[in-house]
């Protein structure tokens, strides 16, 4: 009798707890939308980086785009910079990285990002934030004033992404939104 009573308590307990646990798991369609949103933010960043690095971008535009690009990141994030000419990887604060990028000592700069994809899927953390890692490949080309290619490399970088559900009031009503922020951008490897 004791065993049956225990089993019943156990089953009823599961019935009470099950719906609450289910709420913790994201609907696959919603998960896909959030995955895509985070990937899109990284693609946006790639376009911002191309614009900031390009010598054809007017100074005022480059500065405005730096502001937008900086907003994609969590405060305190760092971006790694590598070179085939030195072994160490230097890490800079986001703003400093973009300002250095704008002032690179080439007459023409081409930056292209490709193979942008998840290397580590978004995972829910105890505080409700989803954290994942997106890998990108960056092709960098620097030209001198004669138009000759003087430096090029391809760098694999990992970007940590943080996605959190937030709410804000707009027009007198509460709007639930997914806030995507990028974290550190780490250099994984650099090749010619």
């Amino acid at each position: 009798m004791k065993n049956i009573t225990f089993s019943i308590f156990f089953l009823l307990g599961i019935l009470m707890v099950l719906p609450a646990t289910a709420q913790e798991t994201l609907n696959p369609k919603r998960k896909q939308a959030i995955d895509s949103l985070a990937l899109e933010k990284v693609r946006d960043l790639s376009k911002y980086i191309t614009t900031i690095g390009s010598k054809d971008t007017p100074w005022s535009e480059a500065n405005r785009v730096i502001d937008r690009a900086e907003e994609l990141f969590m405060k305190g994030s760092e971006i790694g910079v590598s070179s085939l000419l030195r072994p160490q990887i230097n890490y800079y604060g986001v703003r400093k990285y973009f300002e250095r990028l704008m002032r690179l000592n080439y007459s023409k700069v081409e930056i292209e990002w490709y193979k942008i994809d998840y290397v580590s899927d978004l995972q829910r953390q105890p505080d409700g934030t989803y954290v994942g890692v997106i890998t990108v490949f960056q092709k960098f080309k620097g030209y001198n004033k004669e138009g000759q290619l003087v430096y090029q490399d391809t760098t694999k970088k990992d970007i940590t992404v943080y996605v959190k559900r937030k709410e804000t009031q707009i027009g007198g009503r509460m709007i639930g939104f997914w806030d995507v922020l990028l974290g550190d951008m780490r250099v994984k490897e650099t090749q010619k």
């Binding site: 019943i8 896909q32 707009i170 709007i175």
Partner: protein, 148 residues
Amino acid sequence: MDTIKSYNIDDQDVKDLIVKVGDKLNTEKAEAVRKAEEERLRKEEAAKKQAERAKFNIINEKFATIAHAGSYDEADKEIEQVLQLFATPDVPVLIIIDQVDGVNDYDRPTTASRFLNYLKDIKSYHFAVESVKRNTEGKISELELIKK
């Protein structure tokens, strides 16, 4: 639940728990009925919105023009013109990334001015106007877009 009840267990704790679970299941059933009705209304609303979207073609075309402008100057001129449609440059712009169970999931809210500059920077318009709120002067006071 019926199987557990059929045991007729003479234990007050079990009886109390059965009542609690019964209440919970009833609440969940009522919730399911409510959700089904909400889903029906949502579908009805979606069909209505689809018809309304055709009215937003002009706005969509203007946004696409900014995204595909040939130069920064050209894009800036377009932005200046399009901003005239808005009550202020700070009018909220909401971007729907997904719709689940009749609830919209949004990207981080932005403003008209920032959104138009975003189109200039990204050089792509992959949205559609979902709804527009206007003030008494007919200017846009809130814009809702959906990702395509």
